[in-house]
């Protein structure tokens, strides 16, 4: 898969580039509305520790666990 990559330690900078922050409980939130938690591709809130990246074209935040990546694979399959 062709993708820009980043190391784990750069997660917060990457999130910041997309105007996202992390709240006290560790969830990814909108920087301009910190009460608004960002949803991942499965419709659930996403913790910064689970954040695996952003899919091209739109703001689909993906989780880095096995099950979420399998669902991602299905969603990208023709």
């Amino acid at each position: 898969m062709k993708a820009i990559t980043f190391e784990k330690a750069a997660k917060e900078v990457v999130l910041d580039a997309f105007n996202k922050g992390v709240d006290k409980e560790g969830y990814v939130v909108e920087k301009n509305n910190p009460k608004q938690r960002v949803l991942s591709q499965d419709g659930n809130e996403i913790k910064a520790t689970e954040f695996g990246g952003i899919i091209a074209g739109s703001e689909i935040f993906i989780k880095s666990d096995l099950i979420s990546l399998l669902k991602l694979l299905d969603s990208l399959s023709p």
Partner: protein, 257 residues
């Protein structure tokens, strides 16, 4: 060439983002066939510009941005998921197992493939447990120990051969998944006393049904050690010597009683 000229010339898929480097002055390094942007070495204008550029690549050029380990795992999953052996098992059980069990089995088969290559898999098993609970853990255990091919498939075929109703298979499958009386899977969280009591409990259940053997499975040095200690301690209670298939990091011991 300046920072911006260099940055804009890099193919997006060769772009890697890092916070720091041993070299405190280099802003872009060539490493492992990638152009690495060292964010910690950029001034504020360069950092803000880089962030905007990343956003543009994702939104306009439609290039995904992925954490490097996530990307690697995703690529591995895509390969293992296409593995013909795994596909054959999934196709066989299609319509025979509940849909959510098939989802678990699909993930468990990927774990099994990676485990057989000697890769660490405990964090992946944990992903299944977090999503599917005890049932997920059990199916992953049964899958990695080949029970879907060696026990559940023959059970289904036996059911069909004897023209028994499907519910018979479903009921026995449910017992296998939730109780697996024929096996003990030793995890790193299972203490030695718990392992011992679990084995003794299963021996009693099996004896009740006239079954005289149990398989004990363990992955990882500590679990292998625990199982050897247990075999040693309970040796006098076995009717014959255990059959052992083991390596540095795994063991399957069949005990008879």
């Amino acid at each position: 060439m300046g920072f911006w000229d260099t940055l804009f010339k890099i193919l997006p898929e060769k772009l890697h983002i890092k916070i720091a480097s041993d070299n405190k002055s280099k802003k872009i390094e060539y490493h492992d066939n990638r152009q690495v942007i060292i964010l910690g070495n950029l001034n504020k204008k360069e950092l803000d510009g880089t962030k905007n550029y990343l956003k543009k690549l994702v939104f306009e050029k439609k290039i995904p941005i992925l954490e490097e380990e996530t990307k690697k795992l995703f690529e591995d999953i895509a390969v293992e998921d296409r593995n013909p052996k795994n596909q054959e098992i999934l196709e066989y059980f299609q319509g025979k197992l509940p849909t959510s069990d098939l989802e678990i089995l699909r993930a468990a088969l990927i774990i099994k493939s990676k485990y057989k290559k000697g890769e660490p898999v405990s964090h992946l098993k944990e992903d299944i447990v977090l999503q599917y609970g005890i049932r997920g853990r059990n199916i992953a255990n049964l899958c990695t120990a080949d029970y879907f091919e060696t026990l559940i498939k023959p059970l289904y075929e036996e059911t069909i051969k004897n023209k028994l109703p499907f519910v018979k298979f479903a009921a026995r499958y449910e017992i296998i998944v939730m109780q697996y009386p024929f096996a003990v899977f030793v995890s790193s969280r299972m203490t030695y006393p718990k392992l011992k009591s679990e084995l003794q409990r299963k021996i009693i259940i099996n004896k009740t049904y006239g079954i005289t053997k149990i398989n004990i499975h363990g992955i990882g040095k500590n679990n292998v050690k625990k199982i050897y200690k247990l075999l040693d301690e309970l040796r006098s209670k076995f009717s014959q010597s255990p059959e052992i298939d083991s390596g540095k990091n795994f063991i399957t011991a069949t005990i008879y009683f």
